[in-house]
Symmetry: C2
Subunit: 151 residues, 2 copies
DNA sequence: ACGCAAATAGTGTTAAAACACTTAAATTTG
DNA sequence: CAAATTTAAGTGTTTTAACACTATTTGCGT
């Protein structure tokens, strides 16, 4: 559905404003879908995000700041989220030998199992997943325009 | 900056996954910018969102459900947000005469003044505003691709 | 070596989101 | 018309985000 219809907007919007609102609206829409898929697994979106990051650097771990710098939402509370993941058994924390300020966080076997259970493709390349109506070139164009948008 | 650089991603991503992450990342980036501009005015993003909606329907008011249906984030707590706006003097609430279940919310003069103070163009069409690097046709294409993405 | 600034992780607190539930009024149905 | 259903708004509670702050360790300059 077009943005104007979703938002029941009557007047036509300036094009850049339409782009801004559409980004925010689409992200909220995506978040909602993601939360619905994640709920049965007892994990939140930011926690899932961290697990994906840890999985990406596996078998190496990452410090808390490394995780933060790779997160979509940089203002979130990584220490507490990591602690949640540790309590759930999805991540491990070991003090860094060289620098005692640091803590190295690693995804656990259980955590890797969780990710494969969730089946990431459900959100990305799966048939019914979000964005399936876009062709690959269209998806590429979309990502490029977003990169340019943030410039 | 390109998404991969922002997220310090090493491996190449599937195109649709790249689009999904880019939408989420860009929205978070936008939110951050918006919060920075809004802070001096003592108003939050969802509150600003509601004020814009009320301003759009001025001089007519809207019921709480009408507001909710026009919001970017549909799961938020409109009653409490409206109460905050009322306490700050930016909105007014009057019971609906015909249907006593309903309450009609209207933007106040102070609220309209606040919006013009914030100068919405700062986020949309202003020179240094977000998305200023995009040409108008590019912004239009971006919005269309996002519409299609949600299909 | 000493003091100071930067870096790193974590905590405390307030405000907000998430979600289920409640109250009240209108509408439908038997 | 009475009871049940639906609709609208609001509330209670838990979890989380936001933001500023603290504590500890490291590195650096002198």
């Amino acid at each position: 559905m077009k943005l104007e219809a979703e938002l029941k907007s009557t007047k036509p919007m300036p094009v850049r404003q339409r782009a801004v609102l559409n980004i925010l609206f689409t992200a909220s829409w995506l978040d909602c879908h993601l939360a619905r898929v994640l709920r049965p697994f007892g994990i939140t979106h930011p926690q899932y995000n961290i697990l994906r990051i840890l999985n990406g650097s596996f078998p190496n771990g990452l410090s808390v700041l490394d995780i933060k710098s790779r997160m979509l939402d940089r203002s979130s509370n990584v220490s507490r989220l990591v602690e949640k993941l540790r309590l759930s058994g999805f991540a491990e924390r070991v003090p860094h030998s060289g620098d005692r300020r640091m803590v190295i966080v690693t995804i656990s076997v259980t955590g890797k199992q969780l990710l494969s259970d969730i089946d990431t493709t459900q959100f990305t390349d799966h048939e019914g997943g979000p964005g399936h109506k876009l062709s690959e070139p269209e998806a590429a164009t979309l990502a490029e325009l977003l990169d340019k948008f943030r410039d």
